[in-house]
């Protein structure tokens, strides 16, 4: 039991700080070599190499030698590690250990809807324009050791972390530091080891960027600006930016590993990781990406990024869903995520992705090992876990010469355990950092189990008992009866009590210490008699309390779904087929009009033939008798399938792109397919005059964000006029414009700048700063990009057309355009199309002259007219909305249907491929149960590119599957609760919804208006 003494002698001085050469000493000098030899240990040097019965020698905080038969220096303190394991301590690459809390600046902070916008940066000094670009933050300059946070990390087995301040979109550099409790000077292993980025502007109070796509646009422009600043001497001059510290630092950091956290943002979905990787791809940067935890949902897409991943272990707890009313509001996706999240690390390993593990997301540090083991039960290999916690992070950060394995010359950072480090019964005993010991759980160093002879000696004489110590917290005493003692042992001190006779009140309380295997102490009985006691070990017994093996119940796990929501498919995605629709009423939306009793053949994703009595042996025949076939519905104005909608922080944001934040998992894609929609134009919102670039999509349910896009279409951009852009409902607007007069000037000024920019770019392409905002405007003037312009009243419509004419382009489409009927002749002369609501009005002043006859009049005057939704619910009834023009005005039925088929196709420049039933066009078709303009018509089948994405019969079957899978998961969660495992309260599956904030959107029970921080001018 000598070894115990050694252990504790080390403890006494562990908290003393190391002497520093340049620092004065107060007192008597105490320089030590700190030489230790750990003998007889199983040493896992790295994931590949394990030495048994080996010795590790350290000196001065570093590893001196390791191996079998290593000479033990004479001055070494020997620690016998028989039956013990030694591992390199873990490295956490995603920490903010020792970082000060970033302070919100005055006027910044969370968005206040009633306060004016903060249009410029509050950071004083020669920094860049945007407060969220904190490239100047250097972790090593602000790092200070923090024992309160170091200890829980060390207790998990970590010895080194990469720390950075988690604040801002650019976050400056991170430093590798150890978790020792010493002077900060000794702890910094590498000052600038990485640079950090995110999608979260953090404490910046500046309004821009207010959205995910705005954040991406800002990053993109920053890369360009930095390049310009670096390569162009004039950039830092008075004609350029002057000195720009933010860009300077950013450029300096480009050679470092780039760590991007795409998950640090409310409402983070699976796709954020893909979005972040694409930003890097554009500029030839391969980020190391912080995983969102949902990578298992589409591991193929994740692997394709080729990005190394930092994987968290924060698996959601089971929810308490015993109350069926609570369970009702938890989505299948959330329940499945609970089940599948622990498979995430294994999925990443299996996909061959290089990864490290982090404890960063864990709310409770103690769950680290538990969750890691859960990940292993779900397929993560021990070797991969070991590498992910040691060698891989060290290698990424260029510090493998210092940490990450047990090798000569490296820092003496290692842990001592009772067994294999990941095993459930293993206890972490000590964590050595830089050659200093930190106790974790020393009571487990020596097993105290066994039979002891306890002798008490007091005034009443001597008594002897036999004590059977079963673990550090349980023991029985054999006296007159065999009784259970209350027992606790912490590695040094022992306390216990028992009554020698069963049901006796004479309890004797013992207190003492383990002195090298024998125990000595004081005791007192219930009558106040005091006595001394000693206990000697007779025989060692195996630790029975922990020897039990728990049977692991078979874990049946569901499959992932595409998309990861109800009504996704858990097998392969539907593929294009050959279909022959027989004997339907075919509404061609072409000059052929409505054809009764007609067949349509679909082949290779295209409409192959239209006619009577067609046949094709390879085709699946769909009986269309009594049914109606139309082209798929096209929604010119939609806000579905996107992760943000408005970047309203500035009046001109033509640099933002909806394509940067598509969300192909939005259930509204499926819901709209059920209403016959096949193509949607995803628009930026209407918060500012020149909004963002739009994206046309096809509703291919289940594909990824890239495959969702409508290929080869003319790019568009959203403009907006009127009350929204002048923030009418805000009482403290400070953003220009505040009137329609100002709106006209915003437009004129923007294009005036674009003209100058284009000229400068032509004259000096290298010296001119590339401006993505103006690039888009130049594209407009060169008829390479087209405008859909949110508009209501006739004055602004005319004014905008005149600005466009002045700069030589036209407004392609006026959307909403509720007073279009007043200026239809002018719009026709200008060449604009009109996309409107059927009957909305009276929700704000600019729509008090809106009339349901608008579409009819504009159509009569000769404009190309569409009916749009701007509303995820109404979109699935667009055929009925078009039918309202039959009621309001008396439009012909065929003309009415064209307003949601060929007319929007024309205004989107895709009428050569979609919008009508014509041989050669894309097979985007809807089979209706009834007259397509009737309220009784239901879409029975909706086809995109010859693939049936919605089928009413299949939908009914899927509803049953959804129910069955829900029921299974609810049962499993209830089992967790009854099995005594931790659960959290059932959390309703709230959804952030994105609207254009134009009108009062009626929110469902679980919907939250998501519009970020840009403005509160709802309605």
């Amino acid at each position: 039991m000598r070894r115990l003494k050694l252990l504790f002698s080390g403890l006494l001085f562990a908290s003393l700080l190391q002497a520093q050469e340049t620092f004065q000493v107060n007192g008597v000098g105490d320089k030590r070599d700190g030489c230790y030899a750990f003998t007889n240990a199983t040493i896992v040097k790295d994931a590949q190499t394990t030495l048994t019965n080996a010795t590790l020698v350290i000196r001065d905080g570093k590893i001196v030698s390791v191996g079998n038969g290593v000479a033990i220096p004479k001055d070494a303190v020997v620690v016998d590690c028989k039956d013990k394991y030694i591992y390199p301590s873990f490295i956490d690459i995603f920490s903010d250990y020792g970082m000060p809390q970033a302070q919100r600046q005055q006027g910044g902070g969370g968005f206040n809807f009633n306060a004016p916008a903060q249009l410029t940066s509050n950071q004083k000094g020669a920094y860049g324009w945007n407060q969220a670009l904190k490239s100047d933050v250097q972790a090593y300059k602000i790092f200070t050791a923090d024992e309160a946070r170091a200890k829980p990390l060390r207790d998990m087995g970590f010895g080194t972390v990469l720390t950075h301040q988690k604040d801002g979109i650019l976050r400056g550099t991170g430093s590798v530091v150890t978790l020792a409790n010493d002077a900060d000077n000794f702890l910094v292993v590498k000052e600038k080891a990485a640079t950090h980025l995110s999608f979260n502007k953090g404490t910046s109070g500046q309004s821009y960027p207010g959205s995910l796509m705005g954040t991406i646009a800002l990053l993109r422009q920053t890369y360009l600006d930095a390049q310009w600043y670096k390569t162009n001497p004039a950039a830092a001059g008075l004609q350029g930016d002057g000195v720009n510290i933010s860009l300077k630092y950013f450029n300096d950091q480009q050679s470092l590993p780039q760590i991007f956290d795409p998950a640090d943002r409310a409402g983070t979905d699976f796709w954020n990781i893909i979005r972040a990787d694409r930003v890097g791809d554009e500029f030839g940067v391969q980020y190391i990406l912080k995983a969102t935890g949902k990578e298992y949902q589409r591991i193929k897409e994740v692997a394709a990024t080729k990005a190394p991943l930092i994987v968290g272990l924060n698996f959601p707890a089971a929810m308490d869903v015993e109350d069926p009313n609570d369970a009702r509001l938890v989505s299948l996706a959330d329940m499945k995520n609970w089940e599948l999240a622990p498979t995430n690390p294994a999925a990443i390993e299996k996909a061959g992705i290089s990864f490290v593990l982090t404890s960063a997301d864990l709310r409770d540090a103690r769950t680290f090992m538990t969750n890691l083991r859960k990940a292993m039960e779900n397929g993560l290999s021990e070797k991969a876990a070991m590498e992910a916690l040691t060698k891989t992070p060290a290698t990424w950060l260029g510090v493998y010469d210092k940490v990450g394995s047990i090798d000569n010359g490296k820092l003496a950072n290692f842990v001592i355990t009772t067994g294999p480090v990941f095993a459930e019964r293993t206890t972490l005993l000590q964590n050595w950092v830089q050659g200093k010991k930190y106790a974790v759980n020393e009571s487990a160093w020596t097993s105290v189990t066994g039979l002891y002879t306890l002798t008490t000696n007091g005034a009443k004489g001597t008594n002897t008992y036999s004590v059977d110590v079963k673990s550090s917290s349980s023991a029985t005493v054999i006296a007159k009866d065999t009784v259970t003692a209350t027992f606790s042992y912490d590695g040094k001190a022992v306390k216990f009590s028992f009554a020698p006779e069963r049901r006796s009140r004479n309890i004797i309380r013992f207190s003492g210490f383990n002195n090298g295997g024998d125990w000595n102490g004081m005791a007192e009985d219930a009558e106040g008699n005091r006595m001394t006691w000693t206990a000697k070990l007779n025989s060692i017994k195996p630790d029975t309390a922990t020897a039990r093996t728990r049977p692991t119940p078979p874990n049946r796990i569901g499959k992932t779904m595409y998309p990861f929501t109800a009504y996704g498919t858990d097998s392969t995605l539907p593929a294009p087929g050959t279909y022959l629709v027989k004997n339907a009423t075919v509404w061609t939306s072409e000059k052929e009009g409505k054809l009764e009793g007609t067949d349509v053949l679909v082949k290779g994703g295209k409409i192959a033939r239209i006619g009577k009595n067609l046949s094709d042996a390879s085709a699946t025949v769909i009986d269309g008798t009594g049914k109606h076939l139309t082209a798929g519905i096209i929604d010119e104005h939609s806000h579905i399938a996107s992760a943000s909608t408005n970047e309203g922080a500035q009046s001109v944001t033509s640099e933002v792109r909806m394509q940067d934040n598509l969300d192909p998992d939005d259930i509204n894609i499926y819901r709209q397919l059920s209403g016959g929609v096949t193509t949607s134009h995803i628009l930026h919102g209407s918060a500012n005059t020149i909004g963002g670039q739009t994206q046309l999509i096809k509703l291919r349910w289940g594909v990824n964000d890239e495959e969702l896009k409508f290929k080869n279409w003319d790019p568009f951009i959203k403009f907006a006029l009127g009350e929204n852009v002048k923030r009418t409902s805000s009482t403290s607007n400070n953003r220009f414009p505040d009137t329609r007069m100002g709106v006209e000037q915003v437009l004129t000024d923007a294009f005036n700048r674009a003209v100058a920019y284009e000229k400068a770019m032509k004259a000096d392409p290298k010296g001119t700063r590339r401006d993505l905002e103006l690039d888009a405007l130049v594209e407009i003037m060169n008829k390479q990009r087209f405008i859909t312009c949110h508009s209501y009243v006739q004055s602004e419509i005319t004014a905008t057309m005149r600005v466009a004419e002045k700069f030589g382009f036209r407004i392609n489409t006026f959307t909403h355009i509720l007073e279009g009927y007043k200026v239809a002749d002018k719009m026709k002369a200008h060449g604009a199309a009109a996309s409107t609501f059927s009957d909305w009005w009276a929700y704000k002043v600019e729509v008090t002259d809106a009339i349901p006859y608008n579409a009819y009049i504009m159509n009569k005057v000769g404009l190309t007219v569409a009916i749009n939704s701007d509303d995820a619910e109404m979109a699935r009834r667009l055929n009925q909305e078009a039918a309202k023009s039959v009621k309001y005005g008396g439009m012909s039925e065929e003309e009415a249907l064209k307003m949601v088929t060929i007319n929007p196709a024309k205004m989107l420049h895709v009428d050569d491929r979609v919008g009508s039933i014509k041989a050669g066009k894309d097979a985007d078709l809807v089979l209706w149960s009834d007259h397509p303009l009737s309220i009784y018509a239901k879409a029975e089948k909706t086809m995109v590119d010859g693939t049936i994405y919605f089928d009413r019969e299949k939908d009914a079957a899927m509803r049953k599957q959804v129910l069955a899978e829900r029921t299974r998961l609810i049962g499993k969660m209830v089992g967790e609760k009854r099995g005594g495992r931790p659960t959290m309260p059932a959390t309703p599956s709230y959804k952030y919804v994105h609207t254009c904030l134009d009108h009062s959107h009626k929110l469902g029970m679980l919907e939250i208006e998501a519009e970020e921080e840009t403005h509160g001018d709802n309605q």
Partner: protein, 440 residues
Amino acid sequence: MKKSFLYISVLTLLLSKASIAQDDVYPAAKQSKKTAITNATVHVGNGNVIENGTIVFDNGKITYAGAAAGAPSAETTIDAKGKHVYPGIILPASNLGLQEISGVRGSTDVNEIGELNPSVRSIVAYKAESIVTNTIRANGILFAHVAPGGQLIAGQSSVVQLDAWNWEDAAYKADNGMHFYMPSLLARPGGGRFAALLALLGPQQSADPVKAALDRIEGVKAFFRQAKAYHQKDAGKEINLKFEATKALFEKKQKFFIHCSQVKQMLIAIDFVKEFGFDVVVVGAGESWQIADLLKQNNISVILTQEHNLPTLDDDDVDQPYKSATFLQKAGVLYCLNDDDPQNRGRNLVFNAGTAAAYGLGKEEALKAITSNAAKVLGIDDRTGTIEVGKDANIVISEGDILDMKSSIVTNAFIQGRSISLQSKHTQLFERYKHKYGIK
């Protein structure tokens, strides 16, 4: 074309009047001539249909509804051959006349300050000449139940007829309901913007929101307990306006409208039946389809939120809101349909009913849900809701099926026998710009 009749009458009107405000759309004078509608497909509103039917009304009341043979003679006859005739449609919960334009504070009289306003009455703020009204009745909606909005006890509502000079004329059944907006029993999520807002509100907001909501509901119950005790007191007591305002509720002369949609909220609504004996109507009730039988057992009726809604959860049947009414109907709950869309202010009520018809109710049941059922829910079924002898002559004639937009073209409407104008600001602007462009 059938529509020519409508257009000619509109044009005649407009050629004589140059104004495009709707100020010249006058409330109709009292019925002076006994009128018959003949050759019509009469949808009675109780589920029955009379083919080739005749309706006669006199002095504002229906005196005959049945087969052509045996119909009494009339002074004027409207030939409704090929057309469909319906009872006047009822918008069962609305802020019509309390709000002109939602974006303009000055035009809005919906929410009063305070959480206990039982004495507040919507009828006194009702704007009979709202620009919205004429657009709604042009779609066959002749009655609206006008309710105050707010927090907890918001005040009293009234049923109005939509052809009136002022609110006193408009009142069809004054003060027929008391409105309780039940707080949400769902914990809201943390994170994002919401968290920032919570932080601004301070730590007191971090208390369990469900518990806080239950406490507030308990506060409402406590109020009614005290009100009940107050009513037992002798005459000569000091008048408490809030307690006084609850008298009709306890006497069952008024219904208790509880605005809520969550299952747990509706389960709590049962308390108000059990403890206070109120006639409870649940308004909104998006999730009521799950507990239809319980509502039936407790005689709770429902004003269902519009069909044109998205499902609550991704997992739900994509058509769940379209189908919810059928659950209530099958369980025998007294329910009616509503259109609470803020962009249309109720004029698509018929189409919401059309959707419900398509997804399980069938046309006549769907019609009941916006006529006779609504009348029962609002307590006006003794006077309207069906085309039956003795009822007020509240009648709508449509060119075709009124529930289907492609044929829902209202040509005539009568409120208490008065032939009302179907013109509105919309038709007037339509004519003005047809004129501009020379559209015939």
